[in-house]
Symmetry: C2
Subunit: 328 residues, 2 copies
């Protein structure tokens, strides 16, 4: 910038004015400055600008895995909202590791992002307290924060799970299995609760072998599928706790020629083209992202008030697999 000023024969501040489109510069002066900028290939250094101004026009997003088809639209929605507010998005994947989440979040804070959207992997976010006190805004999405209070946007996991199980019960199923993610994950725990309550309300006992929470690794899920649909009293229906589990379950049932009805949490592409179509509890991940980002920018624009918790409804999409077992 110094060089540009020298070449154009003007002061430093005048270059700054031109670069930022501030008023108070003659057309002629502006022309000379722009010429010098062009000639020298000058680009403003935003690090210095940020240092001076305090605001970075950047928001951070931390989620579990960007490549997961559930999170990709969420991430895209956050980006759209950020762009509409003139902000860039810095992104990191925690891989469901609390330590990595904290590391990432603090790295983003050190970069002085204006705000954060977090899909938490950790269950204790007190490490964020100094940041929040320092004025960083944070919105949690998909799962609530742990041991601090902050704006949160969730899906109705409990209600969605209840609806799924009620759907299966409605088709006469009595032995219904549930395969879900690690119980430490809020969504998994809520879906389990919904499953249990729906079963209880229907007057059905839940045998211990019918619930299995843990890794969503295909190998584990496939083994559980096989186990639950075998033996003297196999389940006649499965409720799968998220898109990864559902996909593996469909594949396993198809490969083994096993007959079990199926309802999955999370919609997925092509679910309608299998035969029968896979019945799912659909969330709207893009809407989750949009709402969370919108809330974040409200806070950044100065919205005060207590943290809000927003719960978005889910939608049961019946396609047939809740009735007849999927076969391929």
């Amino acid at each position: 910038m110094k060089d540009v000023a020298a070449r154009a024969g003007v002061g430093l501040k005048t270059v700054s004015r031109v670069v930022n489109g501030e008023p108070g510069v003659t057309q002629e002066t502006e022309r000379r400055v722009r010429e010098a900028i062009e000639a020298l290939g000058f680009r403003r250094n935003d690090s210095a600008r940020i240092l001076r101004k305090g605001r970075t026009a950047t928001v951070g997003l931390v989620l579990e895995d960007l490549a997961d088809p559930f999170y990709a639209p969420l991430s895209g929605a956050v980006e759209d909202v950020a762009r509409a507010h003139g902000s860039l998005l810095i992104h990191g994947s925690s891989g469901e590791d609390p330590a990595r989440e904290e590391e990432l979040v603090l790295a983003l804070c050190a970069r002085r992002v204006d705000g954060l959207v977090v899909v938490p992997a950790s269950s204790d976010h007190r490490y964020l307290e100094p940041e929040l006190a320092a004025g960083v805004a944070a919105v949690f999405v998909d799962r609530p924060p742990g041991r601090i209070s902050a704006d949160t946007v969730l899906s109705d996991n409990y209600g969605g799970a209840r609806g799924a199980v009620e759907h299966l019960v409605g088709y006469g199923h009595r032995r219904i299995g549930f395969i879900g993610d690690h119980p430490g994950i809020h969504t998994a725990a809520e879906r389990l609760r919904g499953y249990r309550d729906a079963m209880a309300d229907a007057g059905l006992a839940v045998a211990a072998p019918w619930t299995s929470l843990g890794s969503t690794e295909p190998a584990r899920v496939a083994a559980e599928c096989v186990r639950m649909t075998s033996g003297p009293e196999p389940v006649t229906a499965l409720f799968t706790g998220n898109n990864r589990v559902t996909v593996t379950a469909v594949r396993t049932l198809a490969a083994g020629g096993r007959a079990a009805a199926l309802v999955g949490f999370d919609d997925f592409e092509m679910a309608d083209l299998l035969s029968p179509g896979i019945t799912v509890v659909a969330q709207d991940p893009a809407e989750l992202g949009r709402r969370a980002a919108a809330r974040l920018f409200q806070r950044l624009d100065g919205a005060a008030g207590d943290p809000e918790r927003l719960v978005l409804p889910t939608r049961l999409v019946a396609r047939g697999s809740g009735e007849r077992p999927p076969a391929v």
Copy 2:
């Protein structure tokens, strides 16, 4: 940091030393400093650090749409490599708009990212010349840069397309249609070229109504599907130019009960579970991202030499739909 220094009764530089784990600080002094840091909730301001050091430990990624199932794994792979090199990833979606691409890339450069991985939407990247001259590294992936020379990682779009068409020809198809993305997009153009050459090599004429390049909007693609499979001389097979087109084609053929064999470019989840399974030309998007990011960090680590172009092979995954028409 000033406050921390004051509270600990030490100099500014000593705090800096502690924060960065530099040697030359007594245990006792370090303890006092850490205590002050804790008490004040101090976090280093990376903007200032970046300003001072010149390196940001951040790389930028610009692609078309983060939510696209093809780009999500690519993005994830770039992030993994970046993390392995201690860098953060800043990310932006161009939405296939050249102006937006330029805007994003320059915004990232203004943030002084160390390097860029770009899936270009533009066909003219001369705007990057000043940045490259200033030492920013850039690697292009999935599509080559326009009017500048830079490291590039591509899939073998031409060869993959040839293979797809040869596969269809091998099953006796003579009237084969191609529905692809906008011809201005490198991958679409290459796949078209592969289609044409394979048809020519098989001694087959390509009637004008059999090729359709343009938006991948479901409405357009569905209409083209219907058109090509109708009339007095309908195609007996379709080659679809990317995952979005393929999905719409499968859906349209199924909904209309239309019989046409199908090979799609890009693999997608569940392709194996439809009946018949959808035959695809599979790319490895994660590998594209990994290779591009690896190349970027080689450059950042000082690798000299001319730009390299790396072309990754594709793989034909035959699942049946190249032979019999998909039906649902």
